[in-house]
């Protein structure tokens, strides 16, 4: 059934349909309405979960780690500085291989304080080991939350579902709310074989020596580096797992089929703009306009950022003349993070596209359609050489320093 609600409510509805059992969260703009909605669901008895109020994001993740270790389906959500405050626990959650799901309503990071949207918060956490999914609209938010719970418990790796603060979190649009019975058929209860159980005591995440050593049963047990190698291999394997989960979701609910990247008018395109989140949808109108002007251009949204779908991206961009990466995040002192990753994915190609990188929209600076038209037209008119220094869109009061 279709309803019109905010992106935060779409996320909360997904969490409810997923039958999360433990929710611990600390409110932070623009995530707050999501956790308020979940507390309403719990209070009214619509969701049989324990809602545990905490005094900080660090504790929120600590509660989720404990709940997940005990074998329950755990959820939290945050934004910006709240995400950064839980970073130590983020590493712990993934090292302990706990299938926690977290929504991140993307917001710029202070200092100086901003409550508005960019993607620096979650993008800066790309190396933690969590899986990262990005949604472009409310339908993708609720669908991604459901797929995230299934993916997390299938591969024993936590998943972040990220969506643009305000632009998606506070905007209302229609989306289909799947039926509970259909969600139950797609997402079975979380039933781990190994969990914290007073009836069956065990050690969890003990100090692990540099080298392998015999366990209590005499067999050799992995050291730290083997455990980390396993995580990396399992993350790479999670690409295929997610593709399969997305396929099953599409069969059941009729939506999906583009787990990694979502191309629009890219097939015959000479030029492709690439972006993450709602910007990739905003660019569709721009692409339509440029197509009317005779420019063979498309846009591709990246929906999974970690593990990085390098092969899907290389396939999608092979043979293009110029790829224009627009980002609301920056690896300060270098380039946009997505730009660097795409460049790496394209390195093996024989005819590598020229790459351009634009930084825009930081701290909620409005992204005007006309600006996007201008920069894409400029890049396509003069692809030139690869540009490793990002250009900035929409700077005021100061000239862009480029080079």
């Amino acid at each position: 059934m279709h309803i019109i609600e905010s992106g935060n409510v779409a996320a909360a509805t997904g969490v409810k349909l997923a039958r999360a059992q433990v929710i611990a969260a600390y409110p932070i703009t623009p995530q707050t309405p999501l956790t308020e909605k979940l507390s309403e669901f719990v209070e009214s008895g619509q969701l049989a979960a324990q809602y545990i109020p905490v005094e900080s994001e660090h504790s929120a993740m600590a509660v989720c780690i404990a709940a997940s270790t005990a074998g329950t389906r755990a959820f939290t959500a945050t934004s910006a500085n709240g995400l950064l405050y839980m970073v130590e626990q983020l590493h712990w959650a993934v090292g302990a291989r706990l299938p926690i799901v977290m929504c991140v309503a993307n917001r710029g990071i202070g200092a100086p304080w901003t409550v508005w949207n960019d993607q620096q918060d979650s993008m800066s956490q790309r190396d933690v080991g969590w899986i990262q999914l990005y949604a472009n609209d409310h339908q993708q938010i609720i669908d991604s939350v459901l797929k995230a719970f299934k993916l997390a418990q299938t591969v024993s790796i936590p998943v972040m579902v990220c969506y643009d603060g305000y632009l998606l979190s506070h905007t209302y649009m229609p989306f289909d709310r799947p039926e509970q019975t259909e969600v139950d058929a797609f997402l079975p209860p979380f039933a781990p074989t190994h969990f914290l159980d007073p009836e069956n005591p065990g050690n969890f995440n003990t100090v692990t020596l540099p080298d392998v050593r015999p366990g209590v049963d005499g067999t050799l047990q992995p050291g730290y580096i083997e455990i980390r190698h396993n995580l990396h291999q399992d993350l790479r394997a999670a690409l295929a797992t997610y593709e399969e989960i997305d396929r099953e979701y599409a069969e059941r609910f009729g939506r999906g089929g583009t787990p990694f990247v979502e191309p629009y008018r890219c097939d015959d395109a000479r030029f492709v703009a690439v972006a993450i989140g709602s910007l990739s949808y905003q660019l569709r109108d721009v692409i339509d306009q440029l197509r009317e002007d005779g420019l063979a251009i498309g846009v591709m949204g990246v929906q999974m950022y970690r593990p990085f779908p390098d092969e899907a991206i290389a396939r999608a961009l092979a043979g293009k003349e110029c790829v224009i990466v627009l980002e609301k995040a920056l690896s300060y002192g270098n380039q946009g993070p997505l730009y660097g990753d795409i460049k790496s994915a394209l390195y093996r190609l024989e005819n590598r596209p020229v790459l351009h990188n634009y930084i825009l929209g930081l701290g909620g600076r409005e992204i005007r359609t006309q600006q996007l038209l201008d920069v894409l037209a400029r890049s396509c008119a003069n692809p030139g050489e690869i540009e490793d220094t990002p250009r900035w869109i929409g700077l005021k009061l100061q000239e862009e320093h480029h080079g």
Binding site: H2, I4, V115, W116, N117, Y166, L167, L168, H170, T171, Y172, M173, P174, S278, Y281, Q282, R284, D285, D288, Q289, G364, E366, I367, R368, T369
Partner: protein, 186 residues
């Protein structure tokens, strides 16, 4: 850019319910076959009583651009005292429409070449039996009459659903009374 999108900007005061009104119209429009409906409140902080606005975009096709409206086709004003504080017609397209909660006649208000529709929504709310000051249901009736975009009965149903547990019938009645008492200037 796309010319299939109807852009409607709603002006009110924090706490007055402009967002709820726009959301109800969004629901009514979607129920009437507009697949593309996007309602974006003012992003950021909001104070009770301070001027706020909300963007509502409506189209037969899915809408991808979530940026705020800068050149609206219509503006809806829940509180005529805002006219002294806010340039409510900023960016209004030529031959645009202003729907205003104010006592008639419409000719008392001029906004360049814009068409003006007025309805004394504040009074109609009281006449419907609502407490004084509830205007966000009544303004929807004025909107329906002035724009003809969405049928008043569909909107009345959307009002009753939104106001479940909060005097749904009286709010729907306020919209119907305002609908019958909306005056459109030349």
């Amino acid at each position: 850019m796309r010319n299939d999108i109807i852009e409607i900007r709603w002006h009110g005061r924090g706490g007055q319910g402009a967002i709820t009104a726009a959301k109800i119209v969004a629901n009514g429009a979607f129920a009437s076959g507009y697949k593309g409906v996007v309602m974006a409140p003012t992003f950021g902080t909001e104070r009770r009583g301070a001027p706020v606005f909300t963007s509502l975009k409506i189209s037969r096709e899915k809408i991808y651009d979530l940026s705020p409206i800068t050149t609206p086709d219509m503006v809806v004003v829940l509180d005529h005292t805002l006219l002294e504080e806010v340039d409510v017609v900023a960016g209004l397209k030529e031959n645009g429409l202003v729907v205003l909660n104010a006592p008639p006649p419409a000719s008392a208000y001029t906004f360049g070449g814009a068409r003006v529709a007025v309805s004394d929504v504040t009074a109609h709310g009281v006449a419907a039996g609502l407490p004084a000051g509830i205007v966000n249901s009544g303004i929807i009736g004025a909107f329906a009459k002035a724009t003809g975009l969405v049928d008043i009965e569909i909107l009345a149903r959307a009002i009753e659903e939104e106001f479940t547990g909060k005097k749904p019938e009286l709010n729907a009645r306020a919209a119907r009374i305002a609908y019958e008492h909306t005056f459109i200037g030349e």
